[in-house]
């Protein structure tokens, strides 16, 4: 049974902000995510991606439908235990900084969960190292750039050691180099610890790293497939860099394969 291994299950999730109106922000969205999977959710502005993220952690209450995390249904009663397994990194880093310094902020979630001082210290150090911010432990937020704050926000969630991480456009402010670094760290965590990652993004290069893509459109789940299928079938969707290059090379008639290529495959082909 697939249901046994899926860590997150969403059934018929429907939501609207204004109950007086008929336009639903989300209508009957269903999908399931397996443990250790990296799923990217893409879609235009207003397609309901961020709303979906909020529903998954119980910040909003669905009109109908259910969310199950590791077999437990998300309700008003279970949301606190579920949040211990699920971390959400928001888009705006400014308003996510609660502690007075980097290390205080990373420790905030641990303090809330009554983690002992010794363990807290260790986990904070590890998490800060994962995002390469160890040189800034004592700094206060006003001395950090937007990208650095986003890395701290991510560290705050990583210190929590959740099973699922949801990134709601959480990497937009990073410069390309540190974004690549953070992505690599996340991939490593996915490989080694079976971390499940749900990344909501506009950046197709970020989406291309995912095992699976969910395409949202006007509150509906339009497509659920691998990046290869989706970029092949939707030529209007802005493709990741490797795919764009492949399309251009095809147009020039260079003899490249006519199927989707990941960045690694493209590099290999180019070096041939």
């Amino acid at each position: 049974m697939q249901a046994d291994q899926s860590i997150l299950e969403v059934n018929n999730l429907t939501f609207r902000y204004d109950l007086r109106k008929d336009d639903k922000t989300l209508s009957a969205v269903s999908f399931s995510i397996k443990e250790g999977e990296w799923v990217a959710i893409v879609g235009d502005n207003g397609s309901g991606k961020s709303t979906l993220a909020r529903l998954l952690v119980g910040l909003l209450e669905a009109e109908s439908g259910e969310v199950k995390v590791a077999g437990v249904q998300l309700t008003e009663q279970t949301k606190w235990t579920i949040r211990q397994q699920m971390g959400l990194v928001f888009q705006n880093p400014e308003n996510q900084f609660i502690g007075a310094t980097v290390q205080d902020d990373v420790a905030f979630g641990l303090e809330n969960n009554n983690v002992s001082y010794q363990e807290m210290k260790q986990r904070v150090n590890e998490a800060v190292q994962l995002v390469n911010m160890e040189a800034f432990m004592e700094h206060d937020p006003s001395r950090l750039s937007g990208g650095q704050k986003q890395r701290v926000a991510l560290a705050g969630i990583l210190a929590f050691q959740p099973k699922i991480i949801i990134l709601d456009e959480a990497l937009v402010m990073l410069d390309p180099k540190s974004r690549r670094q953070v992505m690599r760290t996340l991939q490593q965590l996915q490989d080694e610890q079976g971390l499940t990652i749900i990344s909501i993004t506009h950046d197709m290069n970020e989406a291309a790293v995912a095992d699976r893509l969910l395409v949202m459109d006007k509150g509906r789940l339009k497509q659920d497939a691998t990046p290869a299928t989706i970029f092949m079938e939707n030529p209007h969707l802005e493709a990741p860099f490797a795919e764009q290059l492949r399309r251009k090379l095809t147009a020039k008639g260079s003899g490249i394969t006519s199927t989707y290529m990941t960045e690694d495959e493209m590099v290999k082909w180019l070096c041939k």
């Binding site: 909020r54 910040l59 971390g87 928001f90 400014e94 996510q96 609660i98 001082y117 904070v124 969630i157």
Partner: protein, 270 residues
């Protein structure tokens, strides 16, 4: 905004900087209490000397402390004038109906002036040498006995921490909104008082709205990270009470003893 000294932190490594915030707070409160116990010039002299020594030890220029007094100088002078004019007793130097300038009045005025200035100096020493976050920690720890009276001490200190953490953000944002309004042709600092106040409305409204948005975002973040005010939390910040802190408190106790003994010497008016 830069003129406001009270509430700012000056990084440094002096002995005063290294003291535990609890020790500093307790000593400052004790010192201020002593200012009201002292009733003769000998004790005031002693307290002034002590304050100057502490200020010197903090390694921060005396100029900074004087700048801290400046915003309050009119209030101080007003109070002192009232004291001088309306206290009767002793030799009278000037008599104009209800208004008299007497010896007691003058002495009283001098004492009140010293009190005010020393209160400002000592509290400035605390705020200049302690990080805001350490200060809130200290307040949290000192208030913690109130927990038994069901006072939400942790919530109060978290509120303080977040408030302090957002002051620079709000200042930045004010600047941004002002720039935006300037770009739309508003000139600040011109026109009549009413006009100037009217110009503040388009600054305060966006600030208010953005603060509300911020608060909402922040509440979401705190909830997702598992914050529940009803649940016990551990604390990542630890304060370490060292020998020097005990010494500071002992010095305060000795000082209290001396002031109390000096009080026996006699009252206000020599």
């Amino acid at each position: 905004m830069n003129k406001l000294i009270l509430g700012r932190y000056f990084p440094g490594n002096s002995l005063i900087h290294q003291l535990d915030p609890r020790a500093k707070l307790l000593a400052a409160i004790g010192f201020i209490a002593l200012l009201f116990v002292a009733i003769n010039w000998q004790s005031y002299l002693l307290l002034i000397v002590c304050a100057l020594i502490v200020m010197r030890m903090s390694g921060i220029a005396i100029k900074m402390y004087i700048r801290g007094v400046r915003p309050l100088i009119w209030l101080i002078l007003f109070t002192v004038t009232l004291q001088v004019l309306f206290t009767a007793g002793g030799t009278i130097y000037l008599d104009c109906g209800p208004i008299t300038i007497s010896k007691y009045g003058l002495i009283n005025g001098v004492f009140i002036f010293c009190r005010f200035v020393l209160i400002i100096f000592i509290s400035t020493v605390v705020t200049l040498t302690t990080k805001p976050i350490d200060l809130t920690d200290g307040i949290n720890k000192l208030l913690s006995p109130l927990r038994f009276l069901k006072v939400p001490v942790d919530d109060i200190s978290l509120m303080l921490t977040i408030a302090l953490r957002f002051i620079p953000n709000l200042l930045d944002e004010t600047q941004k909104v002002m720039d935006a309004q300037r770009a739309r042709g508003t000139t600040f600092g011109e026109g009549s008082l009413v006009e100037q106040m009217k110009k503040l409305v388009p600054i305060i409204m966006p600030l208010f709205v953005s603060s509300l948005n911020r608060a909402e975002d922040m509440a979401d973040v705190m909830e997702v990270r598992g914050y529940q005010s009803t649940r016990p939390r551990t604390s990542f910040r630890k304060l370490a009470w060292k020998k020097q802190d005990t010494i500071a408190i002992v010095i305060m106790i000795i000082l209290t003893g001396i002031i109390v003994v000096l009080r026996q010497l006699g009252g206000y008016y020599p």
